[in-house]
Symmetry: C2
Subunit: 141 residues, 2 copies
């Protein structure tokens, strides 16, 4: 069985890059710089669903995703979360936060849905994140 | 400089165990089974503040903390988060969620402060988590 993305994740985010373990996507919410890291192994819901080597690779990719976020958005604080109460397919949120943002100091998940980016800005941002993700891709093992 | 715990983390949680990289604590909120994993290295705010070997150890301890939570509380879903918008000292939340809990399917961070456990129940729970954490402690490296 191949990788298939939950339609709610797909419709609310844009593809950035496929890393060895997970797909990196940009959440289409212009309030916050917000990446999603989605393991491509079918049926992944919790960390323990992954074999230990795959979990370690995912942790390396999570660290790389935070480096990508820092390079592109230079946030004041990183927020990372793995919830899955509504969409079970594992997706790790990496959000860049600023003391001036719409939800500070609260969390973004309780802040409702934000407006999407204008199409041109979304493409431009995907390009920026993709180039950073190419350069900062996690090393082997 | 030794490890010192932010007083807001200390007063809202109880000590469970010291693992090699981080201290495991039980949040004193009887609405949710809720562990905190706090790296003991002074000045840790973001993942990239840790040297790569320490980050990897922390990831192993995070996986072990989820195993402890599963064994003691048998939650229907795990929620994991690293925010730090209010208390900067890094603390990773590991929360056991149930479809019948007070905040489902929302997140726990937006759900205010909950009532503490009765003292006797808190001691009993700390004992349960501590014994599980002794047995499921992360392996070396």
């Amino acid at each position: 069985m191949g990788f298939s993305l939950d339609p709610r994740l797909e419709s609310s985010s844009a593809f950035v890059i496929d890393w060895p373990q997970a797909q990196l996507r940009l959440k289409d919410d212009r309030r916050f710089p917000w990446l999603l890291l989605i393991p491509r192994q079918p049926g992944t819901v919790e960390f323990h669903d992954l074999a230990p080597p795959d979990y370690h690779k995912l942790c390396d990719e999570l660290l790389a995703a935070t480096a990508v976020m820092r390079e592109v958005a230079a946030p004041e604080k990183l927020n990372v979360g793995m919830l899955g109460n509504i969409v079970a397919q594992m997706h790790i949120h990496i959000i860049g936060r600023f003391a001036r943002d719409d939800a500070w100091p609260g969390n973004v998940w309780g802040a409702g849905e934000g407006p999407p980016y204008p199409a041109e800005q979304l493409s431009e941002l995907v390009g920026l994140y993709c180039r950073a993700a190419e350069r900062l891709r996690p090393g082997p093992g």
